[in-house]
Amino acid sequence: MVSNQPMQQSQHNVQAQSTQSETAGEPEKSVQKQDQAQEQTDSLDALLDDIESSLESNAEEYVQRFVQKGGE
């Protein structure tokens, strides 16, 4: 039966990865995961600093002025 195989394959493929976050039960892995998450949060923070400082001091006026007409 060719017809069921692809379904099982793609389901399997998807489920294998989807449970990754739920299998981090071992303490070592869990610490590693926390460290990685911390690093990612730090780099996101630096990026947010940059974005915040690059935006208009008056975001409200900028947003209000952005008025287009319909297209297509």
Partner: protein, 524 residues
């Protein structure tokens, strides 16, 4: 065909200037600047265009069409430029627009769409210098104040496939593909009498502006499936014109937008010969209310909302995408055969790549669905593939830091600046290195020249080599001036006949445009 087929994309840009609130005037200024940078001023040839031909098999009388549906009417589009890469830059209503040249694969679409961003940004900068006011363009689809503009896809497909079958499949696909194609938007609702914008964040820029299932129109009561039937090709093909998509800045969402849609078309073209029961598939999966699902899926950041099917079952957007992928696997196994693991023997690299990345991204989405907000904030892998998620990470990060709600002007400003095409001002530019790239900067630079594998090559070369001889150019014809002052037209309906390989001898040999026509005509 496979994923590989004639395809292209049209991007409308938002346009703004601190010293003007007239986007139409600004659009003309930009396109005039683009014209002065183009190889030659060539008129767009509207003769064969027919925007009121309906794919369902009838023709809307022009008298009953709204004026904005008559997109071939020259007074609505007095400014047109054939770009150096064979694409087209023009004013469309109140927006400057870039149409990519015709290409054959999703990667090519991305390269030519990004090259379009560069051409349009250069034109904006030249127009700024010429007029003395700074003009900014944005690659997005709504101002959140009632207006929306498009990023339209085109796909060549066999006309022999029943259009309503295609329409049904596309409705299902377009409502659910947003989970990986969405560019993300701050605000819910249109911002008109149809609904105030309420605070929040959603997957798609466009979903809230669609109110019908199927129709010819593109500017009002927008339909999920657009029926405009201008093939720009031979009688064997139609062009599926798709108006429901977002303008993406990230590569993976745009790659899958083009690639998976091309595969779903391939499914429609091949189901019957493979013995696949497409009617049965549709009976099992068709959504009961596709318009509500389109908007609801866009608003559902959990990715888990269930939607009623016509058959009385429930489905999520993710499950529908998995079902479409399985159907394509089944038909491909019958059409191409399989290897020892049961994997279909995909016919070409672009198809294999689309199938693979589609599977990877669906797997990431399954993970994201079960993540807490904290986990989503640090899921850089998923965010490098999903534009709505990467944008959300930035917005949610700022929202927490500033202790604000989703109606904060700062967040709306980030959403707009994401789309700014000026690299110095764009939020997206700061994040680009965190996204998964499928085309390199070199690919994008190379896309300033025409693609060699379609008729766009001949269009661009004719204008480059014989600028004084070309009277007008369109998607499927070039009109040239003959020695006695009359005009001759080359019919390029069959794109395959005018690739670089097939026209280079004629271009090398000829010393006038008319000679090229004679030489190519001789081969026809």
């Amino acid at each position: 065909m496979s994923v590989v087929r004639l395809m292209g994309i049209e991007t409308e840009y938002a346009i703004a200037s601190e010293s003007s609130n007239n986007p139409i005037a600004l659009s003309y200024e930009l396109v005039e600047a683009a014209a002065s940078a183009a190889p030659a001023p060539v008129r767009w040839d509207y003769r064969p265009e027919d925007p009121v031909n309906d794919a369902r098999g009838y023709h809307l009388p022009r008298a009953s069409a709204r004026p904005d549906m008559l997109t071939d009417s020259p007074e609505l589009r007095t400014t047109n430029v054939v770009a150096g890469n064979g694409g087209r830059i023009y004013v469309d209503h109140a927006h400057p627009e870039y149409s990519s040249p015709e290409v054959k694969s999703p990667r090519q679409v991305i390269a030519y769409d990004r090259a379009g961003d560069l051409l349009m940004q250069e034109a904006a900068e030249n127009a700024s210098r010429a007029t003395g006011h700074r003009i900014s363009i944005y690659r997005n689809n709504t101002d959140g104040k009632g207006s929306s503009w498009g990023a339209h896809e085109s796909y060549q497909m066999r006309r022999s496939v029943d259009f309503m079958t295609v329409a049904g499949l596309m409705e299902l696909h377009f409502a659910t593909r947003q989970i990986y194609t969405g560019a993300g938007r701050v605000g819910l609702g249109e911002g008109t009498e149809r609904g105030e914008v309420t605070p929040g964040y959603q997957l798609s820029q466009r979903a809230d502006y669609f109110h019908a299932r199927i129709g010819l129109q593109t500017t009002f009561d927008r339909p999920i499936v657009n029926t405009r039937d201008e093939s720009h090709s031979t009688a064997e093909f139609r062009r599926l014109h798709v108006i429901v998509g977002d303008a993406n800045r990230m590569d993976v969402p745009e790659f899958l937008k083009m690639g998976v849609t091309s595969l779903v078309i391939w499914l429609a073209e091949n189901a019957e010969s493979a013995g696949f029961d497409l009617n049965g598939f549709m009976a099992a999966h068709a959504l009961k209310d596709p318009v509500a699902a389109l908007q609801g899926i866009s608003h559902d950041l959990t990715l888990g909302a269930e939607w009623d099917t016509e058959s009385g079952a429930k489905t999520t957007a993710w499950q529908t995408q998995v079902a479409l992928r399985s159907a394509i696997y089944e038909v491909a196994a019958a059409v191409f055969g399989t290897d020892s693991t049961g994997e279909p023997l995909w016919p070409d690299a672009p198809t294999r790549e689309v199938i693979q990345i589609w599977g990877e991204v669906l797997a990431l989405l399954a993970r994201v669905r079960h993540e807490s907000d904290e986990e989503r904030l640090s899921d850089t892998d998923a965010a490098s593939n999903l534009e709505w998620l990467l944008k959300w990470q930035i917005l949610e990060g700022l929202r927490r830091r500033k202790k604000t709600q989703w109606d904060a002007p700062l967040l709306k400003a980030v959403d707009l600046r994401w789309a700014d095409c000026n690299p110095a001002a764009s939020v997206f530019t700061k994040l680009r290195s965190r996204t998964r790239r499928l085309v390199s900067d070199e690919d994008i630079l190379a896309a300033r020249r025409a693609p060699e594998n379609t008729r766009a090559w001949l269009r661009a070369q004719m204008i480059r080599e014989f600028p004084g001889d070309i009277v007008a150019a369109g998607w499927k014809q070039i009109a040239v001036r003959t020695q006695d002052g009359s005009i001759a037209t080359l019919d390029m309906s069959d794109s395959e006949r005018f690739t670089r390989e097939r026209v280079s001898d004629a271009l090398d040999e000829a010393s006038t445009a008319m000679e090229v026509l004679r030489l190519l005509g001789g081969k026809q």
